[in-house]
Symmetry: C2
Subunit: 263 residues, 2 copies
């Protein structure tokens, strides 16, 4: 992941989305447009839409719903003129719980019964941690953020049930309280941590990532776990929903809303 390179580009979300739409940017969005809300994307046939919406509403910590489209629509109130079929830099298409293909747009396969869900992403609050002098080890080490599965059960709805996926960031022990307070200011992008400290208490083995890389801890670092917006995708895959489109990890949708706008 070329974090160091991409962070200097694209201050304006609309410009970024149009560049992606034209096919001129296909890399990750982590670190782009700092301060603006980035979201996860899940697209499901309308048959599953109400149960999926209910699942997110019942589990707001891992699944903070920021928008739902009307069936067949691909716009969002979070971004002027956006087209959710083309304005993300990479999509995953899953069939019966298996990755079928990876693509740069889903306009060509769009159907009138698709419903889009946008969910807050914890990358949104990272610039605020950095501004407060809280280091992000995965960025320093130029690797992907570590995600883990846990033993924390979600409230089930219809076919959707399972456990929470978390992101883990090593935080210097004297900065843990500050990282908690800062992230808690943004409940709609996962808010404060779900767990701090001993990974085994939530069923996590740090050597067994769900997605991402094994990050190195520096002396005095404590593992801090935040609920992750990959959770609903994970659940939909696990219960083998017949057809689902999502953003590719790290390739989020970048909105026009500042983190402060969505309270």
């Amino acid at each position: 992941m070329k974090v160091g390179v991409i962070m200097v580009n694209y201050k304006n979300p609309k410009e970024l989305r149009l560049t992606i739409r034209k096919g001129d940017y296909q890399d990750q969005t982590v670190g782009l447009c700092p301060g603006f809300v980035q979201t996860n994307l899940v697209i499901l046939p309308s048959k599953y839409a109400i149960d999926f919406a209910a699942f997110c509403v019942r589990n707001p910590k891992p699944c903070p719903l920021l928008d739902i489209s009307s069936p067949g629509k691909y716009n969002t109130y979070l971004a002027d003129g956006a087209d959710l079929r083309t304005d993300l830099s990479k999509y995953h298409i899953y069939r019966n719980g298996k990755l079928e293909s990876v693509c740069n747009e889903v306009k060509s396969i769009w159907r009138d019964d698709y419903v889009c869900f946008l969910l807050g992403c914890s990358h949104t609050f990272e610039p605020f941690l950095l501004s407060a002098g809280i280091p992000l080890r995965y960025q320093e080490q130029n690797i992907h953020l570590s995600l883990y599965n846990t033993n924390i059960e979600l409230f089930p709805v219809g076919p959707f049930k399972g456990t929470v996926i978390v992101s883990m960031r090593p935080i210097p022990k004297e900065k843990v309280a500050q990282a908690t307070v800062i992230s808690a200011r943004y409940p709609r992008v996962h808010g404060g941590p779900l767990h701090i400290g001993n990974p085994s208490l939530i069923g996590v083995d740090l050597d067994d990532q769900y997605v991402g890389d094994r990050v190195n801890f520096l002396p005095g670092d404590v593992p801090v776990f935040w609920a992750c917006g990959v959770t609903p995708q994970h659940i939909a895959l696990k219960v083998k929903i017949p057809y689902m489109i999502t953003h590719a990890p790290g390739h989020m949708f970048v909105t026009d809303f500042l983190a402060e706008d969505i309270g």
Copy 2:
């Protein structure tokens, strides 16, 4: 409204729900089970469910979604063993935007395509205001809380569009900041005020209530306006959704969750 009388009864939400279910309590729930989350109820045919869910998600301040049922279901994760068809003390049934009937249960008219929506209610944070010595004039004056329509436009979705309904409480001017801070701790029951002071700035005439009574101001009181969970009902009526069931104003659903539980 017999606030003074009912506030001393029913500390336990489950006991209250069962009493209501048996038909032994038919009064308002305002002030009952202090500390526990009370919710507004909207029941719609599943045809409208996704657009209504999206409307709530896009407008979280007036429409904080706390739960959605699967089509045909009437349970909720917010209350053990609850039946949303019988556990509220009064229901309103609307047809084409007009009140058709008022009843004490909707089990006898239940259909398999109904979807229940529970929305946070600002009465939930009132005990915390009272604990901080902030007076509630409508309770002192033994009248109904004043609700007003405003000129604040909501983000539209499908057929749902219109303006925010607010509740208004006169607050002594030296207590306004404290009332703001306390209510803001509970974003899922409307959180902090939408507006403080001059009513005309949000299109409100204090003599023209949408629902409720005209409250008397004491010297030094400032009008403070909170987004109100009656908003989505108001919108569904205004756009003449063919069929809708709601709680009657003041007759909320009382959950097992403490306000602190739902963050």
